[in-house]
Symmetry: C2
Subunit: 215 residues, 2 copies
DNA sequence: TTAATAAGTTAGATTAATCTAACTATTATT
DNA sequence: AATAATAGTTAGATTAATCTAACTTATTAA
């Protein structure tokens, strides 16, 4: 059984590793806001437990076992977020902090029940995939809006890095998952995009467009 | 802000103090399954924080502040139990262990939402009162079934010490809160009672009758 | 290619929560 | 009232998770 703390390291390892398949002590340190020596000793500990492969001065990689355990925590996090939105009436910008705590609850029955009540959802309220009971996760290949071209018609499928502020920004502009967007034009000097949706037109900065994943 | 551990001590203090208004280090030690020296130093700490009144070799008493904070944790526990039963379909014998973890979640919005969805319940699934947002708790004076007399017709209002085993025992006999019971006879030698309800008759041992509260 | 910068490590301290062993105080029993 | 039993305390050790300070290795840039 992993501690609350260990679970947070596993989760961070999983998230930071999605692209490169590995991550660094430094990146973990920044992401968890925990100093490097602390992260260093935790890596030794997780290595002892067979959850990561770790050698001095090299990037850290989750083992298969570590990957599975991390995915199961993320499963609990995302099921919780979905439950909070779908069954309790929270907004998608409110659920992260609650799920961050609920994800550590030890009770298979609790999360199985959520899963059942939600009719076995495949994605969370931010469009991120929910790993299955075995820790398997299916990534859909979405495109950042910023990589689309003028004239394209797309559907908003997910958001990356779903901070409170960013989601409130989207709420204020009526942008939610599933909405259809049409790219009217792209400003060459700053990469901002003029998009129309739901009978209106908005200009979105490059920073915003990079965080919107479309299909 | 109290730690997870401190919250557990506060809760135990509150529960153990309900009758006498105070409790002992020994009782706390047994109830929490934590050795006395550990409890002793925690009492000093909680005393420093103004949550208990504590002097060497004397019983421990919660301060008003301590009582309020304890009641608010119990509120979260009982709201959670009610939510699990009413909104998630769990049995009353399944919810204690989950609520034991959920009660420590820091999120007023989460529990306010439960409260609202449950339409501001006054009791939990075991008939225990739910403290209000200010930590006020209203105790209804129920009578143990064991103190009733032959011929009395009563309604099952609450159970004390709701262990998994005991609740399964009640489930198996169709005994649930709100059910009407009639006392047919009382065995003088062991205090067991013959009661009828829902068109059947059962014999309940004294141990069981002491744990059933009726009105 | 060497010097500067960034990343990573080691050593040692701190805090919270726990324990055991040994001692003291209180309460109960003869 | 003396003694045995129970309850409570003190001292000191342990573990998990964190930190700072100092040092080492690797990477980047002049």
């Amino acid at each position: 059984m992993n501690s609350y703390t260990e679970e947070n390291y596993l989760k961070a390892l999983f998230i930071l590793s999605t692209e490169a398949g590995e991550t660094t002590v430094n990146a973990l340190s920044k992401s968890l806001e925990i100093k490097m020596p602390t992260v260093n000793s935790m890596m030794k500990k997780l290595s002892e437990k067979g959850l990561v492969n770790y050698e001095s001065y090299k990037p850290v990689k989750l083992t298969e076992k570590g990957k599975k355990e991390a995915a199961l925590i993320i499963r609990k996090h995302r099921l919780t977020e979905m439950f909070l939105v779908e069954k309790m009436g929270f907004g998608w910008e409110q659920v992260h902090d609650i799920a961050e705590q609920v994800e550590h609850i030890k009770s298979p029955a609790f999360f199985d029940k959520m899963d059942e009540l939600l009719a076995y959802p495949k994605v969370d309220p931010h469009g991120s995939p929910i790993p299955d009971k075995h820790g398997k996760i299916v990534w859909k290949k979405y495109t950042p809006l910023s990589e689309c071209i003028k004239g394209q018609a797309v559907v908003l499928a997910a958001v990356t890095h779903s901070s409170d502020d960013f989601l409130k920004f989207l709420n204020a502009r009526g942008l939610h998952l599933g909405i259809s967007l049409k790219i009217k034009s792209i400003e060459p000097f700053d990469g901002s995009m003029v998009v129309s949706y739901a009978k209106k037109t908005e200009t979105l900065s490059l920073v915003v467009c990079e965080k919107l994943l479309v299909a």
